[in-house]
Symmetry: C2
Amino acid sequence: MSYTYKYPHPAVTTDCVIFSFDGNDLKVLLIERGNEPYKGYWAFPGGFLNMDENAEQGALRELQEETGLIPNYIEQFHTFTKVDRDPRERVVSIAYLALIKPTDVKGGDDASDAKWFSLKELPPLAFDHEYIFRVAQQALRERIYFESIGFDLLGDYFTIPEVQRLYEAILNIQFDRRNFQKKLLLMDILEEVEDWESTEENENQTVTRGRKAKKYRFNRKKYEKMKESGHFKFEF
Amino acid sequence: MSYTYKYPHPAVTTDCVIFSFDGNDLKVLLIERGNEPYKGYWAFPGGFLNMDENAEQGALRELQEETGLIPNYIEQFHTFTKVDRDPRERVVSIAYLALIKPTDVKGGDDASDAKWFSLKELPPLAFDHEYIFRVAQQALRERIYFESIGFDLLGDYFTIPEVQRLYEAILNIQFDRRNFQKKLLLMDILEEVEDWESTEENENQTVTRGRKAKKYRFNRKKYEKMKESGHFKFEF
DNA sequence: TCAAAAGTGTTCGCTATACACCCATGG
DNA sequence: CCATGGGTGTATAGCGAACACTTTTGA
């Protein structure tokens, strides 16, 4: 069985750069390649687009198949088209940026060759994935600046210092603790959670020292409403 | 001559949404379709990607072929992949946002079926180009907010009220005349031009009433330098 | 009990906003 | 000479950056 066209067609794939956050470090998911080319190198999950699915569906399907993960957020960020980016044939790759909550990371932990890497210690990447990663990182920075997608990387309950560490990791800048807290609370999109101890929320607490931080919950409905109805700027 | 693959491949095209500004209105370039499907409808310039060019090269080539225009700025903004977006076969379209200066518009004025349309009076568009247009417009808004690409839509010499009309047309909001001027000048990226009358700059002056506005020039080098060396925010 | 981490408050300066006023030009 | 459009100036409010102090907790 084969497919014939009057003119040459590139192959079309999707690639998915999925980030997670463990409370301290930003991580990205990679899969070790078992075959040539780039055998032993690491690559983002992805694969060929089926004819009966759009690119986002394809990216989600590949991610699910290869890692069992279902992201909380997914968005196309760039399409890579360099002529020789794959040595085998002409391949155009539609790349997606995805985010997942720490709780969901634990869920989809099946034994594949997928592994989470801290951004500071990435292994050698296959194809042009080094470049794709840089573009993804930039896209994440730009989007988190004006959208609430940061909360798609946090658990349902979180502390403000945690949010700060997340923003600092992504934007690679330092915020003043007190100003950060003030600004975030003034936005009026967080709710304090009193009885959070009763929840099943996994406590991946690294040995805590000092005063315990208050737990908050993101009020997405309120956020959406404010973004619609008025001129409210989510910005960092 | 034909091309055969083991798996089905979508066709890959580029589409180019190119904007221009005549001093008052924002315009977009469209081409009337002479063949089915969507005969008589209008579409963005574009076409199939060649195997020896990347997508940006393809978009520029198609634009050049179909309209003779060479844009001042071009950037990929989204890839459209809906399964049935073209009734003939599966087509994935990599879409580009392009800007051109009024002087360059005059230059490439060959007799094709291309035509500039004011954003307020768009004709019926082919395929999913209505949707592509909305995404392009949003992309333009987002980019012009933090980048100096607005000047890629203006002539080499321009007035501040002209810049304001441009920003108001794109962002669809009204600025206070005096505050707009102050803000723009405070950025310190414009130079006043004294003897601009001697230049060949085309005067498409619509009948002017009232005091004549000063002419300025965009100092791109200074802008780049400020963006690099310090924390300078270009923002509107 | 002490150091580390988190919560709360205050000051200062910049800038966005909302205006008023003056200048140039063409009908 | 006056209406229209452009240039310049000023007052105020609010937010962001910098920084001091208090509270809680584990070692």
